[in-house]
Each structure stands twice: as structure tokens, then as C-alpha cells.
């Protein structure tokens, strides 16, 4: 890690750091490949490992870990694992370790038999992944309004005008379920915004988390959308006990930190 710095080497290291923290686009990847060819080898995996170790060392504290993997997700994962193991063992007779061999390898055993069957397994995996991708598109699986509405913990709160006059005359409601970690916003007569100038953004206030609201998603209304508009709520962090939903007007694409200069609608949760 002590080679002499040059502009090209600095750029190469920047790109390597970019790759392990947020990824590269095609142009950046091409540039990195060219720099690696001229600047010599660099240990990308060492940086990846460092980021992974720091990620775990800085993991969320127990008080923030209310989002343990839901039981139904765990069950689906177990089922996928069993299917994977079955496919691996049936597609690769020599891989006697199968799924157990994977775990054994992780646990420190040799597991070379599994590795020798990698090609056969990869074929099975590809088919499984393709099937899985079709089945599990997030947008397709977003809980329907009716599904959330019937949950015992569903809350429904009417929109009220906020300080910004844009919300005057708008009606509708927020539907949210903590157990589903999902919800819908319903608006009637919400004015469309010029998408080149602004978007709407939802914020969810949850005092059990911390003082900062959770980003609930960025959206807009098309000029041809008249009458009732329904927008899914896509909370960026687990929400445990929301006390207020608020709509702000932000720059296109939304913001990370809202100044809350324009708040056309709010929905306080009573109780």
C-alpha cells in the first residue's frame, strides 16, 4: 500500500474505492481496467474485505435492530435453499457434499467436490435465478391496498392541509401497516408538479427510531391523472410506530435531507 502516488494511481485507487462502496458505471469500469493495465495489480478484494469488516464493526446497535428477518422470508429462503441443494446434488452426481457441502466449506472443511461440480450447479442456478427473477419483481409484489387494509395493525389517517397552500382542497388518506412495512397514499385533487422543477416526497416521523423522519418515497402526479391517485409508500428504513406522515415539495428526484420549506400535506396519527 505504499507505492508512490501519481495522478493515475490516485485515480485508480479512487475507482477501486468507488467500486467497493457504491459500484462503477460502464465508463468507470473501462477506465479502471485501463489503469490496472498500466499501473499494475491492486488488491480489490483487500478493499472489499475492509469495507465488509467495517460494515460489520459499525453494524446497527441492538436498539435499532427491530428488523430481524421476518419468519415468512426465512421460510422462503429455506425452501429456496432446499431446492438449490436438491438441484445441485441431482445435477452433479460427483458433488456428494451438495448443500451440506457448502456449509461444510464455510465451516472450514475442504468441500473441493462441490467446487468441481460448479459448472453443473451454475446451470441449475441460472434457471432457478431466471425463474425467481420473474416471480419476485418488487413492484409486482408490493402489497395491494386491500391486503394492507385488512391487516389488524393497519392505520388510516386523513390528509390535512399543511403550511404550504398547495395542499388546500386536497383530500385523501394514508394507509399504513407496521407489520407489512408498507402502505399507500391516496390523494384526490393533488396538483401535478412540473417534474423539471419539483417532486413530492413523503416523510414518516417515528419517534421510536430517532429524531429524523424516514424517507417514504418520491412521487409526482401526471397532468392527465385526475380524480383519485394512489401511491405506494416505500419506506427506506423500518418504521415501528409512525406518529406523523408529511408531504414536502422537493427538487426533482427528492432530497436526502429535507429543509421542509414546503409542506402541503400532513397526516398526524392519533393515539
Amino acid at each position: 500500500m505504499s507505492q508512490s502516488p501519481t495522478p493515475d494511481r490516485d485515480r485508480m485507487l479512487d475507482l477501486l474505492a468507488d467500486q467497493v462502496t457504491e459500484g462503477l458505471d460502464a465508463a468507470e469500469r473501462k477506465q479502471l481496467d485501463a489503469l490496472l493495465a498500466t499501473e499494475g495489480e491492486a488488491d480489490l478484494e483487500a478493499l472489499e474485505r475492509t469495507a465488509a469488516e467495517l460494515s460489520l464493526a459499525l453494524g446497527e446497535p441492538p436498539s435499532q435492530q427491530a428488523d430481524a428477518m421476518p419468519a415468512e422470508v426465512r421460510e422462503r429462503l429455506s425452501k429456496a435453499g432446499r431446492e438449490w441443494a436438491a438441484g445441485a446434488s441431482s445435477g452433479a452426481p460427483g458433488a456428494s457434499s451438495g448443500g451440506d457441502g457448502v456449509l461444510a466449506r464455510i465451516g472450514g472443511a475442504t468441500g473441493l467436490a462441490w467446487f468441481s461440480a460448479a459448472a453443473a450447479i451454475a446451470i441449475a442456478l441460472l434457471g432457478w435465478l431466471m425463474l425467481f427473477t420473474v416471480i419476485t419483481q418488487p413492484e409486482e409484489r408490493f402489497p395491494a391496498y386491500a391486503d394492507i387494509e385488512t391487516r389488524p395493525d393497519a392505520v388510516r389517517v386523513a390528509w390535512s392541509p399543511g403550511p404550504d397552500p398547495l395542499g388546500e382542497g386536497v383530500t385523501g388518506e394514508v394507509l399504513w401497516s407496521d407489520s407489512a412495512q408498507a402502505g399507500w397514499m391516496v390523494f384526490r385533487d393533488l396538483p401535478p408538479l412540473d417534474p423539471n422543477q419539483n417532486d413530492y416526497q413523503l416523510w414518516i416521523f417515528d419517534p421510536t427510531r430517532d429524531e429524523h423522519p424516514v424517507d417514504g418515497g418520491v412521487f409526482n402526479v401526471r397532468p392527465d391523472e385526475t380524480g383519485e391517485v394512489r401511491v405506494p409508500i416505500r419506506a427506506k428504513l423500518p418504521v415501528r410506530s409512525p406518529t406523523l406522515f408529511a408531504i414536502t415539495v422537493e427538487q426533482p428526484g427528492g432530497v436526502v435531507v429535507s429543509k421542509q420549506d414546503r409542506v402541503p400535506l400532513v397526516a398526524p396519527v392519533e393515539g
Binding site: M1, G81, A182, V256
Partner: protein, 173 residues
Amino acid sequence: MQECIDRYSALVWSLARRFTSTQADAEDAVQEIFTDVWRSSGRFDPTIAGESTFIAMIARRRLIDRLNRQGRRLKPVAMPDENQVGESKVDASEQGQELTEEFSAASEAFEQLSDDQQRVLRLSIQQGYTHAQIAEITGMPLGTVKTHIRRGLIRAREIIDEIRGTAGTEVAL
């Protein structure tokens, strides 16, 4: 297979939630990650990294790939919470104790980084912000953010290797 899921589901789920915007997206991500773990397990080398690090590396790689495939349209966290992240340590659940031991060197290394390096690495690695978002949050120029991330990662690697007595075994960065 099931033991692998039992042992590391909390870890993978925690990482997935940091990089995804919906539960559905997180569910897809964890399945991708575990599949990759099973497929890649032949590459695991306990002399280089512990199990948790190996799995976290794969998880982060897959999650970053997913973000890129989605055009980095997902903002992982609404607001930075820089007060809590400095105090946070590893999960105290199933594998908490093991993680604590495995990553004590990483924690120690992190504490030795400069304040700015710690700040941007928290926002990037712990909370999943893009570099541009970190620049917006901190007010630092984007180039400065990238420099802090790069130097912080390299310095942390050096310190971790010194602590473990493995300095010099890495391919030079």
C-alpha cells in the same frame, strides 16, 4: 444449508435493509445473496477472512450491483443519524459475540481514522449513502469525500493487518 441461513440471516438481512427501499426488495436481495454464498463457498479461505466477513463481502457486492442495476435510484436512508453511528457496534444477536471478536480489529482501526474519514465511511459503509449524497450531507466537495473514503479504507486495512500481524501479506494497494 439451513444452519448457514440460521446463523447468518440476521447479518444478511441487516445489510440488505440498509441498501434497499422496500421489504420486497430486501427479500429479493437476501435470496440473491445466499444463493451467491452457496455458489461461492468453495472460494472461502479461513486464513484470509472469517465467515462473517466472507458473507458480508458477498452481500455488499450483490447489494451494490443491485443498486447499480436500478440506476442508483434508491436512497437508502432518509436522514443521517451521525450521533448513533459512532457508538454502534456489532449485532448482539445470534452471532454477536463471534462478530465482536472477529471485528474488534476493524473497530479499533476505525477509531484510529481521522474524524472526517470516520464520518464519510459511516455514511457510506454503514448507512449506504452514495458519495454525492455524502457531499450534500456534509457540505464537503465530492472529490474530498472520495479522497476520505479511499484513504480511510486503505488506512483501515493497514491498521487491521498490523493488529493481526498480517501486514505485508496483502497485494500492494
